[in-house]
Amino acid sequence: MSEYPTALQIAEGVRSGDLKAVDVVEQHLTTIADTDGEIHAFNHVMADEARERAAAVDATVAAGGDPGPMAGVPVALKDNMCTRGVPTTCSSKILAGWLPPYDATVVQRLTAAGAVFVGKTNLDEFAMGSSTENSAFGPTRNPLDTERVPGGSSGGSAAAVAAGFAPVSLGSDTGGSIRQPAALCGVVGVKPTYGRVSRLGLIAFGSSLDQIGPFTHTVADAALTLETICGHDPGDSTSIPEPAPEFSAVLDRGVDGLRIGRITDLPEGADPDVVARTDEAFAALESAGATIVDVEVPAFTYGLTAYYLIAPAEASSNLARFDGVRYGLRVDGADVEEMMRNTRTAGFGDEVKRRILLGTYALSAGYYDAYYGKALKIRRLMAEDFAAAYQQCDVLLTPSSPSVAFPFGSKTDDPFAMYLCDTYTIPANLTGDPAMSVPFGDGADDLPVGVQIIAPSLGESVMLQVAAELERSAP
């Protein structure tokens, strides 16, 4: 558990008048000013906006009103979520200086709940990476060991919570970009069911995979944030109509009688320390009354291949919009096509170009059936295999990441080595199921290990219920 105040404590204090939101925000801005020079969690700190907003929250309380369930809670936003009039870069040169003309739905919802945004966090460019080393503005450092990566792509958001810059941050998760950095930074990270949280205003990477979710120190804070950001949005055609349940209500229920699935044909590759902590997590749940059930998910092994064809294919299509016409960078040319080529060649970094090429290839005439078409079929197998597993268990438990936080540069020469970081997290993006990482003890070099809970579609409640038990029993 952490030395920092939780979102629940802050909100309760501010709503009751015991705490001033302006003081809370000032403390966090001071911590940011003192240490973010080294960590580089933020691309942009919203100091003026945060102070103004906190004063408004305090004024509401003073006038006898209720600013909402996240009153005065400092929140950091991954810099791929649109904030009106505030720079939103995706950590790419191609969007440097762009000011969005609207707020993402999550930004509107958090504002309505009384939250206070403190800044926009660093990421792998366009959320493509597992270490935040692909940012055009330089890497983020892991607050627990500044010689190591924070994970990615939401590395800045994970680091912001781990470093005490904000008790809550939002990330986006296309193949593990919330859960893997949460594991590497020792915090809680949740990817909700696809469609639970509106993607309106999230700059798209893989539209059928992307999902926004929170980083927090505690499971209870994650539940609070989910209650705020989940729910139907007519502005996102893939938004699920069902209202979100009260997630906080289930956290004290324990796991007595629950069935926890252990995947016997899980792909190998996790380090021994990670395997050991995961085994201990199974044991802890068993001693708390759960039953451990062995299940098979044969398609799990093919998730990486399916994902690295589907996600780049969707990205190559989504990133076609960055052409120098409507926003961001333009590098002139003699005609419009030359201008577009010049702009994209200068504006995108190596990993983004690599994935655009891979995706364009996988979709191109003559190769579509061999690659993209096959990947979509594996996606079907994945969904069927998970559905069969859920016949036997309530949730699945796996490692979140194959290793603890790794040193800078250790995977940058081999793109595929970096892709392997996503081995355990990818399947839940392909199926759309909710999944989260919760810290469970330390591994090599005293660095945190995260375990992943995967639940059936719309099963966030049981997932959080299990996470709360792991939080109580963590070593």
Partner: protein, 100 residues
């Protein structure tokens, strides 16, 4: 080394994606993409003939809203974010070659 990709194919893909690659970048991209396709060959052994593709994880049907006016983005604010605009429009270089 894979024979799945040649530099010619990668160069064609780069043109489709509106990206310029230097000769060095083209060679490196060909090597890296070939290496990835080698890894991805693990799916070649699967018999997928009778499997239906799954495009999206959640069963969704198209939704229509009532045709009522709603506020849209502010035009001046949108155009202010563009690299170049003129007379309320985005400005781009000539689309068909020749004199502008």
């Amino acid at each position: 080394m894979s024979d799945r990709l040649t530099p010619d194919v990668v160069a064609k893909v780069a043109r489709l994606a509106r990206l310029d690659l230097t000769p060095d970048e083209l060679d490196r991209a060909t090597d890296q993409l070939s290496d990835m396709l080698d890894h991805f060959a693990d799916i070649d052994k699967l018999d997928l003939r009778d499997v239906e593709p799954l495009n999206s994880p959640y069963p969704l049907v198209n939704v229509l809203r009532d045709d009522v006016e709603q506020p849209t983005l502010d035009r001046d604010e949108v155009l202010a974010a563009a690299p170049k605009s003129e007379d309320g429009r985005f400005w781009v270089p000539p689309i068909l070659g020749g004199d502008s």
